[in-house]
Amino acid sequence: MIEIVTTGALATVQDRGRDGALKWGVGSSGALDDLALAAGNILLGNDDDAAGIEIQIFPFQARFTEDCAFAITGADCGASLDDLPLPPWWVQTATAGQILNLGIPRRGAWRAGRAYLCLAGGVDVPTVLGSRSTQLRGAFGGLDGRQLRSGDRLRARAVNSAATRTGFGLSPPALDLPLTVGDLPAVRVLPAAEYAQYTEAAHHALWNDAWRVTPHSNRYGYRLEGTPLLAAAPIETRSHGIVPGVIQVPPNGQPIVQMRDAQPSGGYPKIGVVIEADLWRLGQAPIGSHIRFMQTSWDEALAAGEQNARWLTEARRLADLHSGRTRSC
């Protein structure tokens, strides 16, 4: 069990998402960097659907009230367990009373904004509509449907986790699966329904501008700033179903990328959609940073998903081998 000692706003319990709930008008939620959460679970030998804590405001401090194996992934926050420095993307065993510290994310080979803390067996919160993810809009899931506060206590689902072999890590997929244009992180985009109705200048800007992540960016959506994207003629659309990744263009021409806590429907025209396999890259882009869009195809989008899956499978195989774990599946 851990007790949150210090946390900024918006730390939440997240798993890989509430898939299949859009039909009830419930958004998907889930970790913005799904690869980082999956890597944390792999380091611990957890199931793929185990929940962790997504942290986006630092410093963050948690005290272990029992011996517990844990993993930290995502942004490199110069983590330490008491005064033992921990490398990034690392699994370790804490003894009761020890304090985990995460500082402000460092600018290193990979600039990222969100860190993940996973516990052996996953964070023990009830499953709601098939997921443990916090659904802030509906105020359910996670811990009482809300962000974490100092003094909150969370249980790990695994017993005897201290017996698990820990003290090793993974190389972040941002380094193993890099995607940049120039020096900027990039995400691949498929043109969406209203793409053809935008001007040539808008198309050029979409693919060639460095888009700034504005401070009005969060788990609901990323509001980007660049050359306004203008349609050749006014577009009228009725409210319709949307998914995370959709790039909407409101009348001011500044695009909004829908993220994991997006509403399940919207009425703005859609110029494109960030492919599912690259949403983690956008989810890690810090406020104030710039990103690039790269045009892609259906086949490339599927191949990118398979590449992520291969990385995770290889990481799982090696982590299990190293820690002497055997899995039935």
């Binding site: 490199d76 420095p85 080979a109 190389s171 380094l175 990385w311 990481a315 982590a319």
Partner: protein, 140 residues
């Protein structure tokens, strides 16, 4: 024991893949270490008179716990995990061995001070390869 015999001993250790040999007698301690990686300027022989009653510096070689690509620094970092002279705690990572995406630490065997890196950054090493010199204080 003559110095020629020390050379024979270290050659045998090399052949057998033994990194360190320690002999302790009533009035001496003899430690032979890492002969394969030593240069003529840096003899593999350390002979201590076991007389000082207080804590005294001692050194050992940290070896590779597995095969892999030896890294002095984490892939995300530009600085070394533990440069020579760093005071570290037992269990702290001195370097990393990379196998695909897996990173296995080369850890400090006890509280102490990091010595020289014996293998260059990003070198493929085998199990048991001598990687890092390590100094600690022994209570006698």
């Amino acid at each position: 024991m003559s110095f020629d015999q020390f050379r024979d001993l270290t050659a045998w250790m090399d052949e057998a893949g033994i990194d360190e040999l320690e002999l302790v007698g009533p009035s001496f301690r003899l430690r032979l270490g890492g002969s394969g990686l030593q240069t003529p300027d840096d003899p593999a022989v350390a002979l201590d008179r076991n007389a000082a009653p207080e804590a005294k510096p001692s050194h050992q070689i940290v070896a590779a716990p597995t095969v892999g690509l030896f890294l002095h620094r984490h892939p995300l970092h530009t600085t070394m995990l533990a440069p020579e002279g760093t005071r570290v705690q037992a269990g702290q990572a001195l370097g990393l061995l990379r196998i695909g995406p897996l990173l296995v630490p080369v850890i400090a065997p006890r509280d102490g001070i990091v010595g020289a890196m014996l293998v260059a950054h990003e070198t493929v090493v085998g199990f048991g390869t001598s990687l890092v010199e390590f100094h600690h204080f022994e209570r006698s």
